[in-house]
């Protein structure tokens, strides 16, 4: 069975190679090849999963050593895979949800003439992500990590003819690079500390290493996780990444990419367990991001950007849980899986809505769509109930556990984290209800011609709006799009409950992540009640604001916070002022320094040498007698020095 692990990665990789190098003759079959290879990878993952299930909990780790990549003395970089419970969970999620997204894309990208290339990139994305989770050492993980960055760049900028998409792709790539630097430094630190970067030895020896070194490695790993998982302060790329086609957003947000950071932290659990300071940094990042993303999600009118804010917030939950240590690892992964289902479902639903609405993304131009798109409405609605944590659905089980774990951290810290998580749950309920109401309920705002928004006076009203406005004809999407949505909705409903029967999921992950239930200051039922209460509050508030009153077709000016949240809480302005302008100033100062000090020293040396030579040249006057004087003087000096030296 071990020999099949490499095939998991090889299948989508072969698909990517075939589709990207195959040329135009594959245009007609390209999407089928891509989808089949993704499904093939899933089909391989299932027997491996049953194989693991059939073994004892202690022997559920498979290894496959493919070849030695860079053997240089003590530096051994192997291409080797490790499949344990954690990787298996990810593999199933990536290949399963990934395959559904492939199927969905067949319909969604039907009219795109570069569809073959799109599927090639999707396969590359899957392959890179599978490599990331299956690697048995940090260096190979880094290869997958970079591969994910590359694939996301290619996919976000897939519609490269739009300058905004090209810019968003560049932004995502650059912000990710910042995190990648963290990972590479962490790997170097690991090599100097442990002499290797294979998971087994590094994590095994983490217990006997000094806390300072572990903290340094942990903080660098956190930086890496912040980049890939869009956590504060490296969150700014996620919103712009919505420029990519919707299936890409679903893939990035549900199955791949943003989950990589959570995987990295959970995988490196042994390092974080030994570094409480790094753990504190992780929980702070998680808590800040979960509120940050939720607030941004409340203000966005673009349906995909609202969902992007929600992803940021949900990943914040996972990072928070992962930072709690053994109390939270398993729940972080559980929330990751359930989130994979409902977020993929929500994004595919959003894509389906856009598909029926002529690619309109502004929710103020939606309304009352439930009649026209019943399947999308129901699947999106189930995803919605799951994400707000409606009792009995997936999100409820996983999010509730994270909130419990946050409280179980203990002390004031526990109360603050638990409070933040509860507040986040309330805001989540609010903004998701808002999305739901604005899209599927209320008056049909798309029937009227759009009015130019006063907030953006620069936008010229489109030609059609001046004369005759033809409202879109909302319609249900083709079956290739609805079936993945239905399957994901089923997952959103049942996955959480299924995982929670006898704590099946936690028991499954326990050998890898170890589990500690902690001592919550409140009883579990009290926390659950509180979670449900804040959820109902959030939903109620949103219903009051967006359900009872008609939604204005033009965004009102809003409060200061709303306006800030519309601008992603000024993240780009912050980056612009601090990094762009600050960086500009810094480079200008460095150029100045280079010109004055470095060039000054070099040019000064040259000029003084030139001047000195000019002086010395005067001695070369061509008069033999003056040379004779110099020789005589030189001889006199030599003799004088010789005599003096003898005297001394």
């Amino acid at each position: 069975m071990e020999n099949l692990i490499a095939l998991l990665v090889a299948a989508p990789l072969a698909g990517a190679a075939l589709l990207l190098c195959g040329g135009r003759r594959l245009d007609r079959a390209g999407h089928w090849i891509g989808t089949l290879l993704a499904l093939g990878s899933f089909a391989l993952a299932v027997p491996l999963f049953t194989e693991l299930l059939g073994r004892d909990a202690e022997h559920r780790t498979l290894h496959q050593h493919l070849f030695s990549w860079i053997p240089v003395g003590g530096f051994q970089a192997d291409v080797a895979f490790q499949l344990d419970q954690l990787s298996m969970t990810f593999v199933l999620l990536i290949t399963g949800v990934g395959s559904l997204i492939h199927i969905y894309s067949i319909g969604y990208m039907e009219h795109d003439e570069r569809r073959r290339r799109f599927f090639g990139y999707l396969n590359l994305f899957l392959a890179a992500m599978l490599l990331l989770v299956l690697a048995d050492n940090y260096l190979l993980l880094y290869v997958g990590w970079e591969g994910v960055g590359l694939a996301s760049y290619l996919l976000i900028g897939f519609w490269q003819h739009k300058p905004s998409a090209a810019t968003a792709a560049k932004k995502a790539f650059l912000v990710n690079r910042v995190g990648d630097v963290g990972l590479s430094i962490a790997i170097m630190l690991m090599f100097t500390t442990f002499g290797t970067f294979a998971f087994g030895p590094v994590l095994g020896a983490a217990g006997e290493t000094s806390e300072g070194k572990l903290t340094a490695i942990g903080v660098m790993l956190l930086l890496a996780a912040c980049g890939k998982s869009a956590q504060v302060p490296l969150q700014s790329w996620l919103g712009d990444a919505m420029e990519g086609p919707t299936p890409v957003s679903a893939l990035i947000h549900a199955a791949t990419m943003v989950t990589a950071g959570v995987y990295l932290i959970t995988r490196s659990g042994a390092i974080f367990n030994g570094a409480p300071d790094a753990q504190t940094a992780v929980v702070v990042v998680g808590a800040v991001t979960l509120l940050f993303g939720a607030i941004v999600g409340c203000a966005k009118d673009d349906i995909k950007k609202a969902l992007a804010g929600s992803t940021m917030s949900q990943i914040g939950y996972m990072i928070l849980a992962a930072g709690l240590g053994p109390i939270g690892y398993a729940f972080a992964i559980m929330h990751l899986v359930t989130h994979g289902f409902f977020k993929a479902g929500l994004f595919l639903g959003a894509g389906s809505v856009m598909h029926g609405m002529n690619d309109e993304v502004d929710m103020r131009r939606y309304g009352g769509l439930r009649k026209y798109m019943p399947v999308t409405f129901i699947t999106f609605g189930l995803g919605y109930l799951a994400i707000i944590g409606f009792p009995g659905l997936s999100g409820f089980f996983s999010k509730d556990k994270i909130i419990e774990a946050a409280f179980a951290k203990g002390g004031t810290e526990g109360w603050i984290l638990g409070g933040a998580a509860l507040l986040g749950a309330a805001i989540t309920a609010f903004y998701m209800t808002r999305v739901m109401l604005m899209t599927f309920f209320g008056e049909e705002r798309w029937r009227k011609a759009p009015t130019p928004s006063p907030a953006e006076p620069s936008v010229e009203p489109a030609a059609e709006t001046r004369g005759e406005y033809t409202p879109p004809h909302p319609h249900e999407s083709p079956r290739s799009m609805t079936i993945p949505m239905i399957l994901l909705a089923v997952g959103s409903v049942f996955a959480g409950g299924l995982f929670s029967i006898n704590e099946a999921f936690v028991t499954w992950l326990e050998p890898v992540t170890s589990v500690d239930h902690g001592h919550p200051p409140l009883s579990a039922s009290a926390i659950t009640t509180a979670t449900i209460v804040v959820m109902v509050l959030g939903v109620g508030l949103a219903c009051l604001q967006y359900g009872r009153k008609p939604v204005p077709a033009v965004a009102p000016r809003g409060s200061l916070l709303t306006r800030a949240a519309r601008r992603d809480l000024l993240q780009d302005d912050f980056n612009h002022v601090v990094l762009v302008r600050g960086g500009g100033e810094l480079t200008r100062a460095l150029v100045q320094l280079d010109h004055s000090v470095v060039d000054g020293a070099v040019n000064g040396t040259a000029a003084s040498m030139g001047g000195l030579s000019g002086r010395l040249r005067q001695a070369q006057n061509g008069f033999a007698r003056s040379y004779a004087v110099q020789m005589l003087g030189g001889a006199a000096v030599l003799i004088a020095v010789t005599l003096l030296m003898r005297g001394v």
């Binding site: 070369q620 006057n621 033999a624 007698r625 004087v629």
Partner: protein, 99 residues
Amino acid sequence: MNPVNYLYLAALLFTIGAAGVLIRRNAIVVFMCIELMLNACNLAFVVFSRMHGNLDGQIIAFFTMVVAAAEVVVGLAIIVSIFRTRHTASVDDASLMKL
């Protein structure tokens, strides 16, 4: 007679020669002054040979004479050649070898 006196003489001759090289402009005179300096050195060598009781100094004096003879041949040839081309024997007029 005290051989040191010969050394004084040698120093005196050398000084006269050096002064002549530095002061006089006529190439022939400069040339003769150089010969004077060489012979002052020869005298000193011979005196030292006598004082130390070995022949090293005298042998070196012979070498100096041989080299000086060769030098006279080359030097006079140069002076004659300069005189033919420039119609002057002043060393200061032959000052083209400079940067």
